[in-house]
């Protein structure tokens, strides 16, 4: 979404700020005749619409709130597909009085002022009853009156305000998570209220000890405490018993087990003492324990839930509407309305929505997201194309064969979703520790009991119970959830979404890191890799290619100042071959070597043919540039290695990671990329099918943990199988669904940041566990020697929780980014 800005930012005029977004305006776009200046056409459109609607206060609010800056983006689409009955049936909810409601995922929502602008929708469009924005999820819920406004006009308004809408997907999974969250929150509330009330009674009881309380009041308070305590263990606390039973069934020790043990033992002892009418009752400590542990769980869940929501909502960006061709008429229709045999128009730059066969048109198709192959595949009548591939150069008409879940892409996605999240795969650190913890607490308790039975039988039971309470795993239970929840929250601010917290713990140890090539290590798509010849020729080439829609033509225009480029006369483009035109009086031919030969039959100079062979050898595409009959330059085109890739891999190697590349692309291309990256590679595989990638990951996992980084559909199976799957920026829907972690920023720097953050998080977890265990060891020694009574134990207990809480919040795991200063 924000990538477009990066191109614009290349040459900013430092003094002029865009009237809409406040980012610098590129020099070429400065309009001296105007008061308002804009960094892009989208900002200009949005600025005009906001003013026309009388919503100027948006800009005041933005100044007051000092919000982040982001350039606007509008698509200018007409959204007529939103009015189709198939679309409304799939995405809208019908309300009484011809009202409907829909959830739309908006691009470009970034700040508090956006909330104000979007929720003003009912004022600028009659017929919209209500618009409510969920800021962290970029989700707007709109209620509109179908008789007075069509959904497409509402969608157009949103688009023109700079928030292109998409029907939100994943609603059911989100609703299920919301229900789960609500249930947990209710448990916390009940546990908190019970703990608070039991504490009040406990204070009265403890002070009554020194102040000779009347027996009948003491008895009342003890019975009420028991009632509330049993309620706390029985309802909110039942979650730990369920976990303990599950852990016994699975024969893996989990922290729920010692918690459940402490709850039941101390609860039973307390109940016996209440009935007996003497001794400690423990219910104050128990209810507080249940409450604090549940708070830890809520914090952890909400951090993970936010990441899952954010990633799933990205699926909404896949196109929801298609252009149908019916009797030579073009018709916008929702994807739900496509039937096999329908003819669709796919324009250059659009994603092919169905599996089918090209009916008409010549173009090139980028299938890298499906196969990992970086070179575009040609599409001609009769050739099959797959859903998910991107049409690059010219419009084509496709006859649909399979749609939706039946497509190759749909089947992969379905399979990944059915396998579900596999968070149980890795046993967590705390769970492993808890086994030792349980054993040592139980043996300490029996030692205490036996010891005191020998010394002073009357104090044996009370000292044993004091030991159990004081070593209650409260701090331990909070240690990991708190550290991880705090880290996940900070990570999501940095554009790193972690869906499964175990993944973060796993990344703290160096292991084998396997990367996909296309789109992960490289930029994905055709770029100018090398220019051999005079630099002064580039503007002329750009001028000739500026009208081209071919990916190579567009790549030749990138990075060239078009304002300084001359104009081309008589430009003629030959699809898949090249272009010819007259620039500054000289005839210029740009294209494949064969094409240039066919135009001129000129002699190819030695250096040019060497460059041509060298490029072909490396799996790249050589382009010849001839002026006035002689080849003057050679442009080598290909998928360019990301600028930060080499340095990022070097940093990771220094941290002990072994790095390997597993690519679906040709082996020669992979070798060329490794030559550019430099350094040592533990594994190099080219031409790997999705199944092979998955096998490679599985084999490697026998020797140790494997992290896999990829972005394509062809990586999805490997992402799911790996110990940790990381989906790179711009990844396909299937890879997002399969991965544990999603990076929203391009390049490999976020990966380095993620791994560094994981290491720091692990250190915080260890520090927390250390503090909790140290406290427990000290307290256990005191209890063993009979130096603390159960009351002192109950007062000391929360101290370990507080220590852990402070340590987690103050820890620096994922450092917050400095605000970018344009």
């Amino acid at each position: 979404m924000i990538d477009d800005a990066a191109i614009i930012d290349a040459r900013p005029a430092h003094l002029i700020a865009c009237s809409h977004c406040g980012l610098p305006v590129p020099t070429v776009l400065v309009d001296p005749a105007n008061d308002d200046q804009f960094c892009c056409a989208a900002c200009q459109t949005v600025y005009r619409v906001v003013h026309e609607c009388g919503l100027n206060r948006y800009y005041e609010l933005r100044r007051e709130l000092e919000t982040d800056r982001a350039p606007a983006r509008t698509t200018g689409a007409d959204f007529s597909a939103f009015d189709a009955p198939e679309f409304q049936q799939a995405h809208c909810i019908e309300l009484p009085d011809s009202r409907h409601s829909i959830e739309l995922y908006l691009e470009g929502v970034h700040c508090a002022a956006c909330v104000w602008l979007i929720e003003k929708l009912p004022q600028i469009r009659t017929g919209v009853v209500q618009a409510r924005l969920d800021l962290p999820r970029s989700l707007v819920s709109i209620v509109w009156d179908d008789d007075r406004a069509a959904l497409s006009t509402v969608a157009r308004d949103l688009d023109r305000l700079g928030y292109p809408p998409h029907p939100a997907r994943g609603g059911e999974a989100r609703a299920a998570r919301t229900r789960e969250d609500r249930r947990l929150l209710i448990r916390v509330a009940v546990a908190g209220a019970l703990a608070g009330n039991v504490m009040l009674l406990a204070i009265a009881l403890y002070s009554g000890m020194f102040d000779s309380m009347q027996d009948r009041f003491a008895t009342l308070f003890r019975w009420v405490s028991m009632g509330l305590g049993v309620a706390a263990i029985g309802w909110p606390g039942s979650i730990f018993f369920k976990g303990a039973i599950a852990s016994i069934r699975a024969r893996t020790p989990r922290l729920d087990l010692p918690i459940a043990l402490a709850l039941s033992l101390a609860g039973a002892a307390g109940a016996v003492n209440v009935v007996r009418g003497s001794g400690e009752i423990y219910f104050d400590s128990l209810t507080m324990l249940v409450f604090l542990l549940l708070v830890g769980r809520v914090l952890q869940r909400s951090a993970q839930r936010r990441a899952a929501d954010a990633v799933e909502l990205l699926y909404s960006l896949t196109p929801a509407s298609v252009t149908l061709v019916e009797n030579d008429e073009l018709l916008q229709a929702p994807i739900e309305a496509v039937i096999p045999g329908a003819i669709l128009l796919v324009r250059a730059g659009e994603t092919i929505p169905v599996d089918g066969v090209v009916n008409d048109g010549l173009s090139q198709v980028d299938e890298s997201i499906l196969t990992g192959e970086s070179k575009p595949v040609s599409a001609a009548p009769g050739r099959p194309v797959s859903a998910g591939a991107v049409n690059l150069s010219a419009p084509i008409r496709v006859r649909a064969q399979t749609i939706g879940d039946a497509t190759r892409l749909g089947r992969i996605l379905k399979q990944i979703e059915s396998e579900g999240v596999r968070s149980a795969r890795v046993q967590s650190l705390v769970d492993r520790l808890s086994a030792w913890f349980l054993i040592s607490v139980l043996s300490l308790a029996s030692v205490t009991l036996l010891l005191w039975l020998a010394i002073d039988p009357s104090r044996a039971v009370s000292n044993t119970i004091a030991l159990l309470i004081v070593t209650c795993p409260c701090g331990l239970g909070l240690a990991t959830p708190l550290a991880v929840a705090a880290a996940l929250g900070k990570a999501s601010q940095r554009g790193i979404f972690v869906k499964c917290d175990e993944a973060l713990t796993q990344l703290a140890h160096p292991g084998l890191l396997l990367l996909d090539k296309t789109g992960t290590l490289t930029e994905g798509g055709v770029r100018l890799v090398q220019w051999i010849g005079a630099e002064s020729l580039r503007p002329a080439v750009a001028a000739l290619e500026s009208a081209s829609s071919h990916p190579i033509g567009r790549a030749l225009c990138a990075d060239v100042d078009m304002a300084a480029a001359p104009t081309a006369d008589d430009a003629e483009h030959f699809i898949g071959q090249g272009a010819v035109g007259v620039i500054d009086g000289a005839r210029l031919v740009v294209g494949s070597f064969d094409f240039v030969q066919s135009q001129w039959r000129t002699h190819t100079p030695n250096w040019a043919s060497l460059a041509q062979h060298d490029a072909l050898e490396k799996g790249l595409t050589p382009i010849a540039v001839a002026r006035g009959g002689a080849i003057e330059a050679v442009a080598v085109m290909g998928d360019r290695v990301r600028d930060d890739a080499g340095a990022a891999l070097e940093t990771l190697r220094n941290r002990g990671w072994r790095v390997g590349i597993v690519s679906g692309d040709d082996r020669r291309v992979v070798e060329e990329v490794t030559a550019q990256l430099g350094g040592e590679f533990a594994m190099l595989v080219g031409g790997a099918s999705p199944e092979k990638k998955c096998d490679i990951v599985e084999n490697a996992m026998r020797k140790g943990p494997v992290a896999f980084v990829g972005d394509g559909v062809n990586d999805a199976a490997a992402l799911q199988r790996a110990t940790v799957g990381i989906a790179a920026h711009g990844g396909a829907e299937a890879s997002l669904a399969a991965a544990d972690i999603y990076l929203t920023k391009p390049g490999l720097t976020p990966l380095v940041e993620l791994i560094a953050g994981a290491r720091r998080t692990r250190r915080v977890v260890f520090r927390n566990i250390g503090a909790a265990l140290g406290y427990n060891a000290l307290a256990a020694t005191l209890a063993l020697t009979g130096l603390i009574t159960p009351i002192v134990a109950a007062i000391l207990m929360p101290i370990s929780s507080l220590t852990v809480l402070t340590l987690s919040i103050r820890a620096r795991t994922f450092t917050r980014e400095e605000a970018p200063c344009p």
Binding site: V49, E52, C53, G54, L55, R57, L61, L65, A112, V115, W116, E119, Q123, I124, R125, R132, L133, D134, L135, P136, R137, T153, R156, D157, R160, T178, D181, R182, L185, I186, A189, V190, A193, G196, N197, F217, L220, V224
Partner: protein, 56 residues
């Protein structure tokens, strides 16, 4: 008969009412999004502007 036998159950009933109110607020979705309402309250309730035009 001490007043505590009345006040204690009463206190518990009040606490239960507070918990019930919280459960209601959770069930009606008021705690699903904790960020947007915090932002929304910063905006003044300005009058709908009369000169608002149709954006088309």
């Amino acid at each position: 008969m001490s007043v505590i036998f009345i006040v204690l159950p009463l206190a518990l009933v009040i606490a239960a009412a507070a918990v019930a109110a919280f459960i209601w607020s959770v069930r009606t979705g008021q705690l699903d999004d904790l960020e947007t309402p915090a932002v929304r309250m910063l905006f003044d309730d300005d009058e709908p502007t009369e000169d608002a035009q149709d954006p088309d």
